[in-house]
Amino acid sequence: MKADKFWSWLVFGLGAAYFLVPLIATFEFSLKMRRGYYSFDAYASVFADPDFQATFLYSSLVGLLAIVVGVLVVVPAVYFVRLRLPHLRPLMEFITLLPLIIPAIVLVYGYIRLYNSSSVIPFTGSALGTDILLTCAYVTLALPYMYRAVDTGMRAIDIKTLTEAAQIMGADTPRIIATVILPNILVAVLSGAFLTFAIVIGEFTITSLLNRPGFGPYLQIVGANRAYEPSALAILSFIITWGAMGMIQLLARFAPRTSARTD
């Protein structure tokens, strides 16, 4: 038994070292901008950079749009499939698995070839069109996670009873989804939203190949040209990811535990 515990601690210790050392090293490096002693100069330099502000704002905006579009696309679909079209469920599962199978770089290559300026739907012909395409690309990347979050949320509430009750009170379907179902799965939707944000905020491949001024391409450019700022940006990115995941953990505490309305 003693030996058991020793090995567990050893494995845990080695793992912790592997995961913590790069974070410590990155943080230490990010403080070394001023010669001789530690300072937060690299962070000040990052925050003062207008490109940082512009690209971060741009990616946040597109990320938020992607969350809204993702919710609008996923929530009604999951609702109707759960309530009335259960035979479409395997199809949904398959579709939401596709973004994990098809690499992002292949997807964006397909977009560029299919939606170029001389095609029927010339998304990439204008800046606005490309922004729309980028938003949809982000929705696609996050689709597996958004779908699973919403699906789990709807499993936990009794949508059939809620729908019938609302129908008896005279609500029509759009109203039922917007004012009855959505508030009940809000926690799940928000989890999906934070996960979407964590995935797309620093997205590089699609953003850079669509030539949009996002945070991911900005990170890459800074990495190629600066010494200390990249470390500061890595720490900031880690904090953002941690924040998004922390919010999901926090929200999970408010999630309805069971579909207790059976009586």
Binding site: V21, I95, V106, S237
Partner: protein
């Protein structure tokens, strides 16, 4: 639309039906436009030559030294990071779940895994350059304190092992998250029963534990492989275009037609889809088998 008559059962029926389809239609349309059509288009383009005729030349064009080498390095890096990530992730998951460590540790590790598995891309490359790059903290400490110059010994963060070591940062957490439910599925009764029958812990793991975990392990392994195979941001930020792996080759092709043949580019993409799809199908088949033990 304008009638104010209370809808009877017969008029309500078709309306509800159309709502059902209206609700699912955006999802289907979305999937067709942004997942299915672009992929099918590329698959088709892989079989069309410059002159617009059907051809197998693009596929044949993949079998050049440079492209085969790119696929081979990609497969090796994805394979190495998947196998090492799966083994390390399994060990850590076993340690925190079955290893009699303090309870709080488990949820801390799981939370951290959620963060680290999403901490990929460009920032991850920065973190490893600060750690194991030429001026990285670990490199310097090893050199000044222990007198070990890892760069003189042949290590380079921009190499096969450098990239593999970096990929492990998101592979191991992913493994921990995926394998934990399977380890939870190992019932306490089973180890107690084998103990009662006189089995040593080693015999328990050899004959009961690992055979049950095996399908989940293999399944997650193939998922990790596909995960690394399609990744580009980390590699690109680490090495620029100096490392000849398939995603970087495809990136260069999309950027500036580096292969000077759009059909060949599509064939390259088709090759990637086939490899990641094969890995994922393996995952689905194996995990369907593994679920029998999770009830």
């Amino acid at each position: 639309m304008t009638d104010t008559v209370i809808p009877t059962a017969t008029t309500a029926r078709p309306r509800r039906l159309s709502f059902e389809w209206l609700g699912v239609a955006p999802f289907i349309l979305f999937a067709v436009m942004f997942l299915i059509l672009p992929t099918l288009y590329l698959v088709g383009a892989a079989f069309v030559g410059r002159d617009g005729q059907l051809t197998l030349d693009n596929i044949a064009g993949l079998f050049t030294e440079q492209i085969l080498a790119a696929y081979w390095i990609s497969i090796r890096i994805s394979g190495a990071s998947a196998i090492l990530g799966a083994l390390a992730g399994l060990a850590i998951a076993l340690a925190i779940i079955r290893g009699r460590l303090p309870d709080g540790l488990r949820s801390a590790v799981m939370t951290f895994s959620g963060v680290a598995s999403n901490f990929a891309g460009v920032p991850l490359a920065f973190a490893f350059i600060s750690t194991l790059g030429r001026l990285g903290l670990v490199t310097i400490i090893l050199k000044t304190v222990f007198d070990i110059d890892i760069y003189r010994a042949g290590f380079n963060i921009l190499s096969f092992w450098g990239l593999t070591l970096t990929y492990l940062y998101f592979q191991i957490p992913l493994m921990i998250l995926m394998i934990a439910p399977a380890i939870d599925g190992l019932k306490r009764e089973w180890s107690e029963a084998s103990q009662t029958l006189g089995a040593t812990p080693l015999q328990f793991w050899l004959y009961v534990g690992f055979p049950i975990l095996w399908p989940s392990f293999l399944g997650t392994l193939s998922l990790l492989f596909a995960n690394a195979f399609g990744a580009i941001a980390t590699a690109y930020a680490l090495t620029g275009s100096s490392l000849n792996i398939v995603p970087i080759l495809l990136y260069a092709q999309i950027r500036g037609d580096a292969l000077q043949n759009p059909g060949l580019g599509a064939a390259l993409a088709l090759g990637m889809i086939i490899i990641t799809a094969a890995a994922n199908i393996l995952y689905l088949v194996i995990s369907a088998r593994a679920e029998r033990w999770m009830r």
